[in-house]
């Protein structure tokens, strides 16, 4: 919505304003298994808190021409920071903003895979795995040396 308040429109007045909502929609990655898993034809969005189901449907059908069938929304309350643990006497110090999420069901046969936004991460992940393995091997070697410190370098095939 615009921040400027305009005079209330009365029936019969000219329509000299254009409604420019600052609605936005963000596609999120849905869970593939577990209690939050969704079918393939359901997309999961975070949306502007003032958007209704109708708005979400209109947004996706009019702008992106998606075959929307059903929209469900959920509001997640922001976290509250309390000044005390006691639930009876505590007072709120700060509250984070609420968030609204939309579950949009598309037509049958619709499929969408969430894009890999940061492919470089995989390389880093693999590198870090190699590093971790090297560290593990170093520790094992150190432990083995410590365990056989009294063996005076006798060959390992004598014992375990």
């Amino acid at each position: 919505m615009t921040t400027r308040l305009y005079r209330a429109w009365q029936p019969g007045n000219p329509q000299n304003r254009v409604f420019l909502p600052n609605f936005w929609i963000k596609l999120l990655n849905r869970a593939s298994k577990g209690p939050k898993a969704l079918p393939e034809n359901v997309l999961y969005f975070e949306v502007h808190p003032q958007m209704t189901r109708h708005d979400v449907r209109e947004y996706l059908t009019k702008i992106y021409e998606l075959p929307v069938r059903d929209v469900n929304t959920r509001v997640k309350m922001g976290k509250i920071e309390w000044d005390s643990v006691d639930t009876k006497t505590r007072r709120a110090l700060w509250k984070e903003d609420d968030k609204k999420f939309a579950y949009v069901t598309m037509c049958r046969g619709f499929k969408h895979d969430f894009p890999n936004l940061f492919p470089d991460d995989e390389i880093e992940k693999e590198t870090s795995q190699v590093e971790r393995h090297k560290e593990l091997m170093r520790n094992l070697e150190r432990n083995a040396k410590a365990a056989s410190r009294d063996r005076n370098d006798v060959g390992t095939w004598f014992g375990l």
Binding site: G34, A37, V42
Partner: protein, 554 residues
């Protein structure tokens, strides 16, 4: 009972052993030796897979019996079955197996302290709505009722050819009267219209045919019809197998995932469901309808025809082949495990008390306990489809039809489940013979027909070692238009615009459903239809105060 719940789980009749501190032999005050019954130890093991172990000994030498948790679950299931069978009346059985847990009272919540046992959130049941709220959810409805669906109901009404002239004449008058007098502007109006129309349709049909069994049958208008059940196999959906990392522990403040809504407090992945249905009318009889498929644990050998003696060998073989094909198709689509949460399928938890009412109250002494035909309003399907914007393109071609099928599956299962409980069966004491009922769905213009056969109720457990090869069945046909249009003179026309009158196929099918005679199967003639209800108690129920007041005897 191994796991205590807050509702009346234990009754004095089934309590077996005294407390563990009692010895089997002791002396009384006079020094005589007293013999106590043997002490049954409580079952300590958990019904879920054991943790990884806290020390090296537990990790290296885990208890094999604890690896899966199936043993304790099976033991508990067996004991529950014995206890449910021991209960004498149907109401006690229903109360015993009900998963309902009442909410905590204000007193309990006010005076709860941190050192008390925590107030566990009461178990709720997922509300199954016959008109599906979720888009494309037929497979889920089939899973939670363990039902296979098949097109075509001709096999049930093979030798029936009723005349439709009188019925058509009566129905035209009723239809004209209702269409001209009753509004269909709002959705509430449409529901009221189709309910009243279906009730009048049933009356017209009953006045148009003559049959001995219909004279003795019971007709209930707008009966209370609801039932609950538990479905296992949701363990993966509940997410109990995923182990919490240190990060998760810090984030959620607990060491394991939260208990899933509708699940048992032991986290078994067995969710409770409830269907509160609204029939326009029901016809019930004292005898059960004859099933089309016999109950048999062998899926291939269970294919038998209803009138095997009357059919030729070729047609029987043809039917078997069709059946095999269906089984393959169905098994490919779904497995024994659910894939999604009920919430993802548009369901919502229901916290109202759960009870069984298959068109009559359990303690009413009703003798017409077997469903014959049910009529139900289906006008909400069109509204739901228009809200979704279901188009006539390829992707949405079957959505509307599948909504009718899902409605038939859920309504028939719920009704038959209630009937089975009224006969003394529970999910722990499975059916010994199949139950059959027929269903007509209509919005006043479109008609959909279905026949359901309940073969099993033991779907509430999914543990290793428990094998249940039975499937419930649902045959369906339609939807068909009763007429396409009506002119100003009150004449009804078919789709082609040339044929006058109502759809003969619809009229004939309605009459055929009514004329299907409820005769028990040959195997059931000398068989006890209520094997889990003691005969003496059944007689007591009939002589109970409620029944006598109803009869005007008290």
């Amino acid at each position: 009972m191994l796991i205590a719940t807050r509702h009346s789980l234990l009754s004095a009749r089934v309590r077996t052993a005294p407390c563990c501190s009692c010895s089997s032999k002791a002396g009384d005050k006079k020094g005589r030796e007293v013999k106590y019954p043997p002490i049954t130890p409580p079952y300590y093991r958990k019904a879920r897979p054991a943790s990884q172990g806290f020390n090296i000994l537990q990790k290296e030498f885990p208890n094999v019996g604890d690896r899966t948790g199936d043993g304790p679950r099976l033991h508990d299931y067996k004991v529950m079955g014995e206890m449910a069978a021991a209960l004498p009346t149907v109401t006690e059985k229903v109360d015993f197996v009900s998963p309902y847990e009442r909410p905590w009272k204000k007193f309990e919540r006010t005076w709860h302290r941190t050192f008390h046992p925590s107030l566990v959130v009461p178990r709720k049941a997922w509300a199954v709505e016959p008109v599906t709220r979720g888009y494309d959810t037929l497979h889920f409805y089939e899973f939670i009722t363990k039902t296979k669906t098949q097109k075509g109901v001709d096999a049930w009404h093979k030798d029936l050819h009723p005349p439709t002239t009188l019925f058509e004449k009566k129905l035209k008058e009723t239809l004209l009267c209702k269409l001209r007098s009753q509004s269909t502007a709002t959705s509430a109006d449409r529901v009221a219209f189709s309910n009243v129309f279906l009730q009048h349709l049933l009356e017209d049909a009953l006045h148009s045919v003559t049959s001995d069994h219909l004279q003795k049958a019971r007709v209930s208008y707008a009966p209370r019809c609801e039932s609950f059940w538990v479905r296992g196999g949701f363990k993966d959906v509940c997410g109990y197998d995923s182990r919490f990392t240190d990060e998760d522990r810090e984030k959620y403040g607990r060491s394991r995932p939260r208990r899933f809504t509708g699940d048992d407090r032991r986290r078994l992945g067995e969710l409770a469901f409830v269907c509160r249905d609204s029939f326009a009318a029901q016809i019930r009889s004292t005898n059960p309808l004859r099933p089309l498929i016999k109950i048999n644990d062998e899926p291939d050998s269970s294919l038998t025809r209803r009138n095997a003696a009357l059919t030729t060998k070729e047609s029987a073989e043809e039917n078997d082949a069709t059946e095999d094909k269906l089984s393959d198709e169905v098994d490919e689509k779904r497995s024994d495990l659910a894939t999604y949460s009920p919430k993802a399928m548009g369901m919502w938890p229901d916290e109202e008390p759960l009870w069984m009412a298959p068109g009559y109250e359990m303690d009413s002494g009703e003798q017409h306990r077997f469903g014959l035909v049910g009529l139900r309003d289906a006008s909400a399907i069109e509204e739901r489809c228009s809200y979704w914007g279901v188009a006539d393109d390829e992707a949405d071609a079957d959505v509307k039809n599948e909504m009718y099928i899902a409605m038939a599956v859920s309504s028939l299962f719920s009704w038959l489940n209630g009937q089975a409980h009224a006969l003394g069966f529970t999910q722990y004491n499975d059916l010994t013979y199949p139950l059959v009922s027929q269903l007509i769905l209509s919005d006043g213009k479109k008609f959909f027909f279905a026949v359901g056969q309940l073969n099993t109720l033991a779907i509430n457990i999914n543990a290793g070692g428990f094998v249940n090869n039975r499937w419930n069945r649902c045959w369906f046909d339609g939807p068909y238009d009763l007429y396409d249009s009506m002119d100003e003179e009150g004449r009804f026309w078919q789709k082609d615009g040339e044929t006058e009158g109502l759809n003969q196929e619809v009229l004939s099918r309605i009459l055929k459903m009514l004329l299907l005679v409820p005769t028990p199967d040959r195997e059931l003639v000398d068989r006890d239809l209520t094997p889990f209800i003691p005969k003496r108690v059944e007689q007591d129920d009939r002589d109970s105060d409620v029944f006598n007041v109803f009869k005007g005897k008290a």
